[in-house]
Symmetry: C2
Subunit: 201 residues, 2 copies
DNA sequence: TAGATTGTTAATCGATTAACAATC
DNA sequence: TAGATTGTTAATCGATTAACAATC
């Protein structure tokens, strides 16, 4: 959607947003102050913020409240987006119970699993459905976001099924590189690999 | 440790490793074949692999087995490293039960929490200790890796305590930018932010 | 006014890609 | 030999940083 912004910049926007919200203050804040607090260059901060609708005032900086709004707007925190979880194992469980997605306008609406003992239950207030109803439910919900919390072996076939249902953004926790058709975006989070990378840094 | 390799390259090494292992084959593989499978440039693949001890044979490529070993060596999959989890909530739980860390030579040895009802229990075969024993246990274990699964509000103070115990690598799941002293490395995984980034891509 | 800050244009730096010699 | 592939050197591309004019 926002094809103009470098991914590196986009990735920093939530960092700014978290920091600014954590200040819990009012008034002005300068790019220099943000840069010092986050340990980065101030021009980079201004460049990043310039992708949003934020406008600084010369001599004083940005109005904190406006800046937060601009970041939230840009990141789509104000549009309601539905996401589904596939795989109601430990990780899926943890995500279903986590409240932080609402900050970004994302609602995890339900989960899908193959395990009979889980189907029909509720986790974190969200229903767990059978994968057999996946297509039906996703189309009914008109959800385009999915979080993959399934074992690596089945991740590709689950991803294929999801894209068939109209899902075009997949957050994948399985340690496999998914092949998806044109127009579908995948973002990977491999926790074990992250820990290994950290450990060899 | 490996200060010579660009972080971008380092981050791709686990991707190669996962792919090569998934082939479950023997014999030779060329950088071109890897590149095609993963959708990247073949020169980039060779450059990345060159940071490891891997050596290709002209005309045929790399010996699959050797290449896997070289990647594993470079990523330290063969040295045993101990990691602790702080925060035995849903997420900490999920990680304790996940087996994938052993592929990288990382062993999650225990968790710490403040919740009396969790302390003394075992999750995924790993004991949950009181944070009061944190220093004692971590020093006894000589662990230098920690995974932070605590709420954002306490993340900074928990990180401070950890570095006091000799932890110098922290994988942080809390949506806050941690300030740590020189010599300590932090890697952040903000799942909600990742989903928001994906959704605005 | 003097000083602080933004936003933009130019310079630098680093990572990716292209070109190609070396090898078997 | 001809052809395929590596590894390296040079060129390109993109992101970060530096410089600076504009503004209040």
């Amino acid at each position: 959607m926002k094809s103009d912004i470098p991914v590196t910049s986009l990735q920093r926007l939530p960092v700014y947003l978290n920091y600014l919200k954590s200040l819990d203050a009012e008034g002005y804040i300068s790019s220099g102050a943000i840069a010092r607090a986050l340990g980065m260059g101030e021009v980079l901060v201004r460049k990043d913020l310039a992708y949003t609708s934020a406008q600084g005032r010369t001599r004083v900086g940005y109005v904190l409240e406006e800046l937060i709004s601009a970041l939230e707007d840009y990141l789509g925190c104000n549009d309601k987006k539905k996401a589904v979880i596939v795989g109601a194992g430990e990780l899926g469980n943890a995500l279903l119970s986590y409240g932080g997605f609402s900050n970004y306008g994302i609602e995890l609406v339900c989960a899908f699993d193959t395990d009979e003992t889980k189907i029909g239950k509720t986790i974190g207030g969200k229903p767990v459905y059978s994968v057999e109803n996946e297509k039906e439910e996703i189309e009914k919900l008109d959800a385009h976001l999915a979080v993959l919390c399934v074992p690596a072996k089945v991740a590709q076939s689950v991803a294929d099924a999801l894209t068939e249902c109209g899902v075009n953004k997949i957050l994948n926790f399985a340690p496999v590189l998914l092949r998806v058709k044109e127009g579908v975006t995948v973002r990977n989070i491999d926790v074990a690999a992250n820990l290994a990378i950290l450990s060899s840094m």
